[in-house]
Symmetry: C2
Subunit: 453 residues, 2 copies
Amino acid sequence: MNSRRDFIKRTSIAGAGLAFAPNISFGFNPFKGEKLKLAFIGVGLRGTNHLNNAIRRNDTEITAICDIDSDRVDIALKLLEKDGRKKPQVFGKNEMDYLNLLASKEVDAVIISTPWLWHTKMAVAAMEAGKFTGVEVSASQTIEECWDLVNTHERTGTHMMLLENVNFRRDVMAVLNMVKQDVFGELLHFRCGYQHDLRGVKFNDGNSAYGPGVEFGDKGISESKWRTKHSVFRNADTYPTHGVGPIAAMCDINRGNRFGTITSHATKAVGLHKYVVDKGGESHPNTKVKFKQGDIITSTIETANQETIIITHDTNSPRPYSLGFRVQGVNGLWEVDGNRIYVEGKSEPHHWDDATEWIKKYDHPVWKEYEAKATGAGHGGMDYFVMQSFVEAAMANVAPPIDAYDAAAWSAITPLSEISIENNGEPQEFPDFTRGQWIARKPYDWMTTHYGK
Amino acid sequence: MNSRRDFIKRTSIAGAGLAFAPNISFGFNPFKGEKLKLAFIGVGLRGTNHLNNAIRRNDTEITAICDIDSDRVDIALKLLEKDGRKKPQVFGKNEMDYLNLLASKEVDAVIISTPWLWHTKMAVAAMEAGKFTGVEVSASQTIEECWDLVNTHERTGTHMMLLENVNFRRDVMAVLNMVKQDVFGELLHFRCGYQHDLRGVKFNDGNSAYGPGVEFGDKGISESKWRTKHSVFRNADTYPTHGVGPIAAMCDINRGNRFGTITSHATKAVGLHKYVVDKGGESHPNTKVKFKQGDIITSTIETANQETIIITHDTNSPRPYSLGFRVQGVNGLWEVDGNRIYVEGKSEPHHWDDATEWIKKYDHPVWKEYEAKATGAGHGGMDYFVMQSFVEAAMANVAPPIDAYDAAAWSAITPLSEISIENNGEPQEFPDFTRGQWIARKPYDWMTTHYGK
């Protein structure tokens, strides 16, 4: 049974049909009794984390890795060797060598954890090559790139998954469970965002990723090498998916609902400059850099079903971490800040419940089942389920929980927020990446414990 | 010394000069050794609260009251009698009788606590009559009404104060103190709103204000008689000032800063209908009422100084009360939800401080001085300071802390949010109610303990 070659052919032939009925597989599992031949493009900090989670599983074979940084390749190879894994093919002799990896018949699926500007072009090439594709957040930087993901998926019939881990966070999944069980009633309003002091990520000394220093770009290391430029050049919510992903799952975006319009507003941009001055001194050359990104960016989305979603981007100021979730319906609401829930008829009138007991009561079945395995997988265990859902969906060749349409709609927040901010908060329409199919597409079965169906 | 007659003449003559240098008094206090002759238009629940606070002071004389509801008049008269006060003139034989009250020479200052639709016309008439004017929130319902307040103030030289009590809340004033002492550094972002389940206020059985029942309008009593109509006819943030007032004080709106643009978004309107069905049954006539006001309304303001302010209106759903304050600068932030503060260099990195100690440390001087007197004044004591600032400013004939420009700018949120919602979140420009003077006007000295300077 030459399932590997079939895999490519089948997904190419499937084409548009797959796209419109994305949860339907072909009725047989080409990987039965086999392992998923998995490749990694990018084995920096994030890619290595994924690699780690892949080798914790006995249904994967790591057949190829690619990175232009040979130090990172060495780390990955040692990791595999230590686990007793076969040595994979290695790519990375130049920036385009990933195309050679994608040409390999020894690869069924690929995980892309590279700087943002590579995400879409690599995901597109991977789908073109018929590889079941996982791509890190954010997927796309422009509206055209969002369409590239969708159109490539539809043209090739190859699936892709956006590897948004927060959708699998334990409290988030418990609240999703509450939503699906109608605890909050008809949904009204959501809040979320990325509120994370990244100053120590956007700058370092070129030697250690999260160390001191105010260098970035060529003189920086790790994320500061590429991420910080987005703060220099773009006044936009450049990192929306950790916040909006879980909310989109709760209100069935692209599956009976969709993002309608967005307005965005930015504050002044002073935090990064201040950091450079405070840490690097008045005479440091980076004090001359003009950072365009407002320190706090507020976006509000109206959905087709008349809910609103406030999304915050807040990464240039000192503050404790919070994704700032609120989920509110006609019966009550959950707020992650303060860890509190109120449900009419259940909570004491006008008084918050501590959310802990609620979260425990509505613990998602997948967490109950795999809790022991998830522990230690990174980011509180949620990274385990990112890999689980990706591998299971890839082996069954079915649409993953977070697909090309989701990647496009969520990522579109970056360019749309940018245009809105430039135009004083003018509302921007989301493209309908489903080409009208959102009214027909069924909600993803997020209550599943098996993503390969 | 016939100071009473002079009071009217002086304020009329002062005219434009006063308006442009509103914190400068005439260097003498016409009320020295005398009592402020205070009148009340509207002695419903809110007016009676003000009346109570006025008679707790020994610098006031209650010379007139006006209400078309004779039951409320009786309650007020009994209150005054019990306190050993002289019987005031009584008005209220019809809806226009307040004009006769305003014609009385026995009135220096007037407090207006009537249904919203009366606020501006009564405040305008009061200023025309030369009475130092206090008006309850919200002041105005349309942009034209906002201008009426400002133009009347400027033409007559009479001062008015918006009686926003939350500006005097103890924690709010402590945070204001922190802002003025630069604890948070340059300001970036604010959140606030009115998140208060008002379903039991918007509806009752016509017998008791906060009791059961799903009646409103002619069949309702107290606020349900007039307030609920605003939810029927207007999809707008109809009650913005409790939230935005304290924020406006912190960021010096109309005094070196101003509101620039606003975008607003409403969710579907389902909560009030659901309440009527749940409490009144499917066949109750009010189930046929179409409520226009979205259950949760989100507005974002950009200020001239490039801060952003998120304002929430959330009164039609079950939830515990919160004004949802956040005050954020380049050094840190305060959040009322969760009662927490983070200040870089003071707090343990990446960890919230419980705000309690901070709030205590930065307790506002006026609270320290008058804590004992404020206790029991209503709404946690803040109503005491509303009356204190009003009476002191009136006796000195100087601009109160919250003046006609503030009343106009804050109230403008209602009609501007309405237009923005109607137009899919299109940004609306705030009129500059100061006619450009905001760049010259000095910040109000909110750190004072005496408002008559």
